[in-house]
């Protein structure tokens, strides 16, 4: 079943019980990102201390893919040095843009590997990347 391939249980779990949701202080930068084709949006804050991502908090509305992917993001990057977090982001972006041809590394992406099936649906790749684009933008602002 194609549908189950795309909507892995892990994704549905994160969608129904998102991790790290809610906007918190302190934070160093905030980014608002929107997907203009569907109206999905996320506001995401980062708190970076001594080059380590101390906290990521967010609010948003959107489909299961965009919401679950942002929830997975917080698991992957909180507590990690910024360059390690960015390496994970690069791996996730590569997976999503791979049209389903890339074998994800579970050691790097953990629950993020569940999104491998989403990469086969080009129209949904933007959904999966929405939170990550906000993270990238917020971190770059926090360094400014």
């Amino acid at each position: 079943m194609q549908l189950q391939q795309m909507y892995q249980e892990i994704i549905l779990d994160h969608y129904k019980n998102p991790h790290g949701r809610g906007l918190r202080a302190p934070f160093d930068a905030e980014s608002f990102q929107v997907n203009p084709t569907c109206g999905d949006e996320v506001t995401l804050r980062v708190h970076v201390v001594d080059g380590v991502v101390e906290d990521v908090s967010y609010e948003g509305q959107g489909c299961s893919i965009s919401q679950a992917s942002t929830s997975v993001l917080t698991d992957l990057v909180v507590g990690k040095p910024v360059d390690e977090a960015f390496a994970k982001m690069d791996a996730f972006v590569e997976l999503m843009q791979g049209r389903g041809q890339i074998e994800p590394d579970e050691d790097v992406l953990e629950d993020g590997i569940a999104f491998a099936g989403v990469a086969k649906y080009p129209a949904r790749v933007k959904c999966a990347l929405l939170g990550w684009m906000a993270f990238k933008d917020a971190v770059s602002r926090s360094a400014a």
């Binding site: 549908l3 999905d40 949006e41 893919i65 649906y121 959904c127």
Partner: protein, 425 residues
């Protein structure tokens, strides 16, 4: 809507549309419910384009060779048939790239009016003038007017929408006033299906001497429309939403207005006399068709209009009415589904948008897609409308002459399937 004509023979008609017999997503029969975005094309339209290109292709309105003559005749014949289809004269039909370009043509031409001399003064806008639109507009009939207001200093105002998805006309007399220069609105909402009261908006505009611009993208393809009878000043629609090619649209303008409206795009074909010091312009519609135009697309749209005529617009409207009734009652029977737009069939066309509690439209669309059902998800280029109705996005099924009651049943079953999949049934 009632009609005495025989109902459509949908099975026979579907045989004209090659794409409708294909399968999608691992062998599922295609259920195409996205004609509000773009319609499918019958073989008659594809054949007309191919025949033109194989036998008569040349740049129209230039050259004196035989092909140029034949191409020009075919192009102008298409214009005449399209004009007849919408109840107007051939020289009131301007070919554009699409409806969006048609609206931009009017908005930019009005923006050019202030510096075009006294003949164009009735189109000029400035600070203190007002442009009136509605909150249910497609972005194509919204952003160009926002931009025109910004360029000229005019003020943009708009009609709100009731919770039932109708225009809120309670303040029509204050909204359309002596400062109003343009009233632009949609004939039928691409999201809600609502058919707006053109006659009362036109008379309100005429009372104050304002121009009317009608977005007819969702009306001309679906029911009989006569722009002269409606009394609008300008109207636009797109070819690809009415069985025709993409890359061709129509701007209708009342002849006396097109005769004094300043040009938008300038260059070849649209001139009368060109000197280094300045130029004069051709009469309409050529004045608004700069450059070598889309030709096979116009021929294709002519063929689409011929096709719609033979089928009969009254019969198409009656057929879509039955499909819409079935969809509204089928979806209303599912707990957790809310229709965005009129729940009844009064002044309502075949676009049915809805939200499902606990299932985001994108996710619902994905489940439907896995069943072979193509719908639109998102805000359908009407973001302010969705905001006004308090939903970020919706699922839209839109019907056309080739859809069947079985396909409506498939949609309803698919929505239940989506609820089951996401555990909200």
């Amino acid at each position: 809507m009632t009609t005495t004509a025989a109902p459509l023979d949908v099975a026979a008609l579907r045989a004209d549309f090659p794409i409708l017999s294909r399968t999608v997503r691992d062998g599922k029969h295609l259920v195409y419910l996205d004609s509000g975005a773009t319609s499918q094309r019958p073989a008659q339209v594809l054949d007309a384009e191919r025949t033109f290109l194989e036998q008569h292709n040349a740049a129209v309105h230039r050259g004196a060779h035989q092909l140029a003559e034949e191409a020009t005749d075919a192009y102008e014949s298409a214009r005449a048939r399209i004009a007849d289809f919408i109840g107007v004269s051939f020289d009131e039909v301007v070919f554009t790239k699409n409806a969006t370009e048609g609206i931009n043509l009017v908005a930019y031409a009005m923006g050019n009016a202030a510096t075009f001399g006294p003949s164009a003064s009735r189109f000029a806008l400035g600070p203190g003038d007002e442009i009136v639109i509605t909150e249910m507009e497609h972005h194509a009939n919204l952003v160009p007017w926002q931009q025109l207001a910004q360029r000229t200093g005019a003020t943009l105002r708009w009609f709100g929408v009731t919770p039932e998805g109708r225009l809120d006309l309670s303040d029509v007399d204050t909204l359309i006033n002596s400062k109003t220069k343009v009233v632009a609105f949609t004939h039928q909402s691409n999201v809600l299906g609502t058919i707006n009261p053109v006659a009362s908006l036109v008379s309100a505009a005429q009372r104050v001497g304002a121009l009317t611009v009608l977005d007819a993208c969702q009306s001309v393809p679906h029911f009989p429309v006569d722009f002269h009878a409606l009394g609008v000043d300008f109207a636009v629609f797109s070819g690809h939403k009415m069985l025709g090619p993409s890359g061709i649209g129509v701007l209708y303008g009342r002849r006396e207005l097109l005769e004094t409206l300043p040009p938008f795009l300038t260059g070849g074909s649209m001139i009368e006399l060109v000197k280094m010091e300045g130029s004069t312009f051709a009469p309409p519609p050529q004045r608004f068709e700069a450059g070598v135009p889309m030709t096979s697309q116009a021929i294709g749209l002519g063929a689409a209009v011929d096709y719609l005529r033979v089928v009969g617009m009254e019969r198409i409207a009656a057929h879509e009415h039955a499909l819409t009734a079935a969809a509204l009652s089928g979806l209303a029977g599912i707990s957790g589904v809310r229709i965005i737009g009129p729940a009844d069939l009064v002044d309502r066309g075949g676009a049915v948008s809805f939200v499902i509690d606990g299932v985001h439209p994108h996710d619902a669309g994905q489940v439907l897609d896995s069943l072979g059902i193509a719908v639109r998800v998102g805000h359908h280029c009407a973001w302010p409308l969705h905001r006004a109705l308090g939903v970020p996005a919706s699922v839209r099924a839109s019907f056309y002459l080739y859809n069947t009651l079985d396909e409506v049943d498939a949609l309803v079953a698919g929505v239940r399937e989506a609820q089951k999949f996401f555990g909200v049934a």
